[in-house]
Symmetry: C2
Subunit: 107 residues, 2 copies
Amino acid sequence: MRSESLKGHLDMLILAVLRDSPAHGYSVIQRLAEASDGAFDLAEGTVYPALYRLEGAGLLASSETVAGARRRRVYRLTAAGEEALTERVAEWRSFARSVGRMIAAPA
Amino acid sequence: MRSESLKGHLDMLILAVLRDSPAHGYSVIQRLAEASDGAFDLAEGTVYPALYRLEGAGLLASSETVAGARRRRVYRLTAAGEEALTERVAEWRSFARSVGRMIAAPA
DNA sequence: GTGCAAAGCTTAGCGATTCTAGGTATGCTG
DNA sequence: CAGCATACCTAGAATCGCTAAGCTTTGCAC
């Protein structure tokens, strides 16, 4: 997949992954890869900054958990995050519908 | 529509618009706006550079036409452009399918 | 027990792409 | 002629994802 396709949609995907249940960054990456059959193969340097951005925007909240000596930062959706996700999904559908119309209609 | 949604997909849309018939830049903008019911409201500063890029990449070819004292640069798809469009559309469908799966499946 | 991979997080800097915000010029309408 | 639509062009900024590196801890293989 051309990685640039993601631009502008990564936030929505991350929010969607975290809607189902909280998760830490590393597992967000894995969930995206699994749920897309490997189509979304994101580098850590892509996902972590996105998480920071979303937390900074108030759409995610995080807490550090420690299992043994291993720390994980677990992210979950805030109420604002749920709202934002709903919006983003609606925008996506509208966008996808428009695109579909353009590439379908040969005239 | 959040304009950033476009990132990475504008080329495909422009190619799709020009697949049907050649057009000059200004009318590409109008066609995109019309065909999407106003969803794609692109600034000239967005579209013209994209056209140059696509022409530079060999996907479009252009010729200057003059009506009176008014010049227009008309763009049309090259063979490579048609191939690229086909590819981009296939990628888009795959991408959209993956996204659809992620935002649809609540778990 | 040493080495190496995987889990897990972080950051600086780059590259590609779109947008902002201006500029030029023509032609039509009132 | 004033004003708006048509038509093109460009420099600069902003955004965003990616590259590429570095760090620690855990666990498995040899």
